[in-house]
Symmetry: C2
Subunit: 234 residues, 2 copies
DNA sequence: CGTGCCATTTTGTGATCACAAACTGATTTT
DNA sequence: AAAATCAGTTTGTGATCACAAAATGGCACG
């Protein structure tokens, strides 16, 4: 009994010594790790995520994992089933249509709000990301594509300095990303075409209507067409 | 040491025996309690909420409270400061404008989506809620007004069966409600006018453009005008 | 009288524990 | 042989603990 406590002092496994730094550091590490996995589709929809399993996977105690899972469930990125089990929600036609509608409403709006804050340096960054995307598409690296596509969009949105719309869009991406990963698994990435170059041109010209149109088209083509196709199949 | 455990068995305070029912029941109880307090403005913006304090207040252990606070922080209803302290975020002009814009975009859209699902029975319910609101306004009961106004709007939105837009709007209400409570505290509730009757009429006629207009006007007048006025003062 | 400093208390965080519900799979029963 | 049952394991939940960072309040010093 007593030595159990002293043993606890000597070595609480592996996570404690790594980064004894600031407040809530472990939780943030777990949070960004899980978010990254969701955004690149490394969690399979319908497969349940266990607290202990994920904790062991990340080398931390179950505690911060529990809190992170609750956070992501609150953003509708994960689903807590009535028995307490946590899993990535399955995509349904109704949910898909709603996500599409919300993305078109919010992302076009936020892109326009970001436009005045975007400098030519940002346009150069976006060009670099887009070139990287083109390279990855031919390689068929779906995870890298998803990570870069996310980086492209949020490089624009983040420039707005938004504190409200941006988190809402964040939630939407977490919801559709795991499903899109399964889509790319079926149709491949070679056939993907985006409107990123049109968006960059609109940013360089500070042309708000053109930027809205480019973002809307990027969403409708990249997500809408592919997704509806796959959802119609089974 | 040993009897500490048996004492734990005999009486872990007050919460355990009450509802030994289903999975995660305590967490849901805490969650809805805190949500209710936020939506009726019973938390003061800027005042920090302590885990142990809230736990003692609700008669539960700190555990479920921690998870709930994390959930609400993920919805931007609460803010975790760099020192780990949790508080209701202060409203800023920028945030306010964004919430207003997002509400206009999302709530008009969801109201229209809900319209085909709304039967005359729902219209009757809405009428009853609205009558209740009118009664409370003259009494100056701000908390009751906020609760009923929330009930009115979400009676409409929930009819849509939405799984995506509705949670987004939920997050928005949690963000502006505490601030609006302070607004009502300054200007009173007697001067409040809403467009609920116009909305009910539009629902009875199944007139989508009229419903959009009524919801938009209700948001712009009820929240926009008052809020901008108060934010301009200090 | 104001200001910096230190002891005390409060608070969040991560870890572990005990328990009940749920899942798994092998065995028995019809 | 198919279905039901039962033991064993896994898993989420709530509780408690130990520790460090932070806030608080009182005290000494300028």
């Amino acid at each position: 009994m007593v030595d159990a406590h002293s043993a606890l002092k000597s070595g609480p496994a592996k996570a404690a010594a790594a980064t004894p730094s600031s407040r809530g550091a472990t939780r943030e590490q777990v949070d960004s790790a899980v978010r990254s996995r969701l955004l690149t589709g490394r969690f399979i929809p319908g497969k349940s995520v266990t607290i202990r399993g994920l904790a062991a996977d990340l080398g931390v105690s179950p505690m911060p994992v529990r809190e992170v899972l609750q956070r992501l469930a609150a953003e509708n990125a994960l689903e807590v089933k009535p028995n307490g089990r946590v899993q990535v929600p399955d995509m349904t036609p109704g949910r898909f249509e709603e996500v599409l509608k919300a993305r078109l409403l919010l992302e076009t709006e936020l892109a326009e709000l970001a436009l005045p804050h975007l400098r030519s340096a940002d346009a150069a960054d976006l060009k670099a990301i887009d070139d990287d995307i083109d390279a990855r598409l031919t390689n068929g690296d779906a995870e890298a594509y998803m990570r870069l596509n996310h980086a492209f969009h949020f490089r624009i949105y983040r420039a707005s300095g938004s504190q409200v719309l941006l988190p809402l869009i964040d939630s939407l991406w977490l919801q559709f990303a795991p499903f899109m990963r399964t889509v790319y698994g079926r149709v491949g990435t070679a056939s993907l075409e985006d409107r990123h170059k049109e968006a960059i041109r609109a940013i360089e010209r500070a042309d708000a209507p053109a930027l809205r149109a480019a973002i809307a088209a990027d969403i409708a083509d990249g997500m809408g067409l592919l997704g509806k196709e796959v959802l119609a199949e089974p």
